[in-house]
Subunit: 411 residues, 2 copies
């Protein structure tokens, strides 16, 4: 009998009507003869309501007590979903994180799972129950309630699937899978039947926010078969996230998708002396101010000077510029510092590009044919990113989607 | 160092402002050098909100899951109160019922406490913490969450006081103690410095709803010193509930208070054959319909017939009358059945009456002097109740309050 872990997020259980909808879906899986563990988040808005209450009491809430407080959010959902299942005649039983015993470290509000005791869950499954588990929470060695941090319910789902050696972990969200790119930008965007973990990580970090990165890493580590599905659509098999070394990935297409992101601004430090240590002198103060940096580029210099460019979140542009002008420019004798927030990043992602040369040139030619100037280039093993003028972003995504034939279902 | 258990109900923790108010009161007790355990209910309205959600999902919510659901109410309060204490610089730590390990039986929604493990609480107290415990909840042998039923937070407070052998269990409510009668009826009503457990039980069941009866019984069983105080007034020492056999009760006044209740209706079955088994034939169908009966009176008969009278809640009068007319009257050949919902019950309560004759005649004379007719009389060891026309209720209470000198503080 197949054992499936299904995870539903906050919008999927936002109110009693939606909880009943989830129950019907779970009941269908049972009717197909599957054993089912359901992992749920708090009803959407509930976690924020609780945090708001805490802040009214204590501006910087104590982490141990904050976990006691917000853990009630998922506890409410597991009880309601179990009732909804019973109301359909399906045997069901709820578990808090502590009741499963999802053992975590004691890093309150951002705990990491150490061990899951799956004995009770397995006994209930064998007894014909659907087991409903509170996501996002656990207990530490001393029995204190902990939480895994935002989005931790995905991690709970994957961790339980790993502990139970489940056949599949299904993540239900408000999209019905992972697409070749955003369908709002490219009408021909196509849902991928499968995508590799590595591509998923690149897609997620590039802005296709379907899954929590941490849960994907976790699934990769424990070889959990992960599938993204829509909780609102009845049909569809979503997108399976696979291991690159699976046999059925032999026919993996070269390029899986086009990701994009218009949240990054570009900063260029011009006329920097080309000597060792200069990158650290520029980026050290930025890191000290807790400003995240994404792409970093330094070209070989001429005349003893070079230009140094990097990107930060647009919200941080002004702060980063001030730091550079106040603390760095005079010190390193840079000629000029230029900021630009009219930029966008477009990336081509695919594990296949490792064994196929010429993807980069194909990409650059397609952009050139449309008159799109490339400002920065950054590459990894399975992606090529370019920074361009943001006004060309949609055009670039459409052109690249077509160039790599992503609208066509692979043979 | 004195060890105090303080229990605050839902209205005392209804919002962040009131929670901060409770924290200040707890902080004052700490400043006096007391060790403090605080037991709290859910914020007022929260339990009903949760039950409403459950009923939207499942008309008759599953008891196990209902307990999982409603137990979140107190869990929210313990976290918020602990934060409020920390915000005042007081070390504090919260415990759910399961974390204390308040072991109960598995009778979900009305569980009974079997055992409390006080080791962790005591260690935290000795470490200088205020310990904040969720009322109303526990866990059974298998680790399932249970609740004690409505008002169970009082019971939790008393049970923890018993387990810790606390010096006092203070129940904070929206009244500042137990009064000789309702001050809204008799302006001269006086707060009692102390009252015995037995009197308290009679007062509570007669309608002075200050404490849950079950918690009072529990306190009596484990000899816990119980004090009722106002959570809204800063001053006042409330009312101490004592054991009748305490030495300091030697000067207990004869009468402690006048209780009253206008919720009862009277039913008289006239012309009943005076033979064995008749009471069962009348009340059996009433009990089968789950209608509670309070006072029951049957007089000696004449001419082979008698009249049988009892009281039920006014809401149940019509149902009880139908049952009697449909199922009983013909069967037992009763002449007539008369219902009356214009009645009130007034009771004089006091342990002292056991050793003082003449209390009853003093009571009846006082009522007669005001022209108040007595319809029914019922007595126990420490109370005398009369049923009268409800329009005379306030008058009767005032007259009896004065007759027994309750407005005067005892010497």
């Amino acid at each position: 009998m197949a054992l499936i872990v299904q995870k539903y997020g906050g919008t999927s259980v936002a109110n009693p009507e939606r909880i009943r909808h989830v129950a019907r879906r779970v009941a269908r899986a049972r009717a197909l003869g599957q054993q089912v563990v359901v992992v749920v988040s708090a009803m959407s808005g509930e976690t924020n309501r609780l945090i708001g209450l805490a802040r009214e009491i204590m501006p910087e809430p104590d982490p141990r007590e904050l976990d006691v407080l917000v853990a009630t959010g998922e506890q409410v959902t597991i009880a309601l979903l179990s009732m909804a299942l019973m109301d359909l005649g399906v045997k069901a039983k709820s578990y808090t994180g502590g009741q499963v015993r999802i053992l975590t470290d004691d890093a309150h509000t951002k705990a990491r799972i150490l061990k899951i005791d799956e004995q009770n869950i397995r006994a209930d499954l064998d007894d014909g129950h659907v087991v409903v588990v509170a996501g996002f929470q656990g207990v530490d060695e001393t029995g204190d309630i902990t939480t895994l941090g935002r989005g931790g319910s995905d991690t709970t789902g994957v961790a339980i699937a790993a502990a139970l050696k489940a056949d599949e972990c299904q993540i239900y969200t408000d999209v019905d899978g992972v697409y070749t790119t955003d369908p709002r930008v490219v009408a021909e965007a196509r849902r991928l039947k499968s995508i590799t973990f590595e591509e998923m990580l690149e897609m997620a970090s590039l802005g296709s926010k379907v899954l929590q990165i941490r849960s994907v890493e976790f699934a990769g580590k424990y070889k959990v078969k992960l599938r993204v599905l829509s909780s609102f659509e009845e049909e569809g098999e979503g997108t399976l996230i696979t291991f690159e070394d699976d046999e059925d990935n032999m026919e993996q297409p070269i390029i899986s998708g086009i990701a994009f992101n218009r949240d990054e601004a570009k900063i260029t430090v011009l006329g920097v002396p080309d000597r060792p240590g200069i990158a650290h002198q520029i980026l050290g103060p930025i890191a000290d101010a807790n400003i995240d940096v994404d792409i970093i580029i330094q070209n070989v210099g001429a005349d003893g000077t070079t230009d140094f460019t990097f990107t930060v979140h647009k919200n941080e542009l002004n702060r980063a510029m001030s730091i550079l002008k106040d603390q760095v420019q005079g010190h390193i004798k840079a000629r000029e510092i230029v900021g630009d927030d009219k930029t966008a990043k477009v990336s081509v992602v695919g594990v296949g590009m490792r064994s196929h040369v010429g993807i980069a040139s194909q990409m650059f030619r397609a952009l050139a044919q449309e008159g799109i100037n490339i400002q920065m280039i950054s590459t990894s093993e399975i992606k090529i990113s370019v920074v361009i003028d943001e006004k060309y972003m949609e055009l670039a995504v459409r052109v690249l989607h077509k160039t790599f034939g992503l609208e066509q279902t692979p043979a």
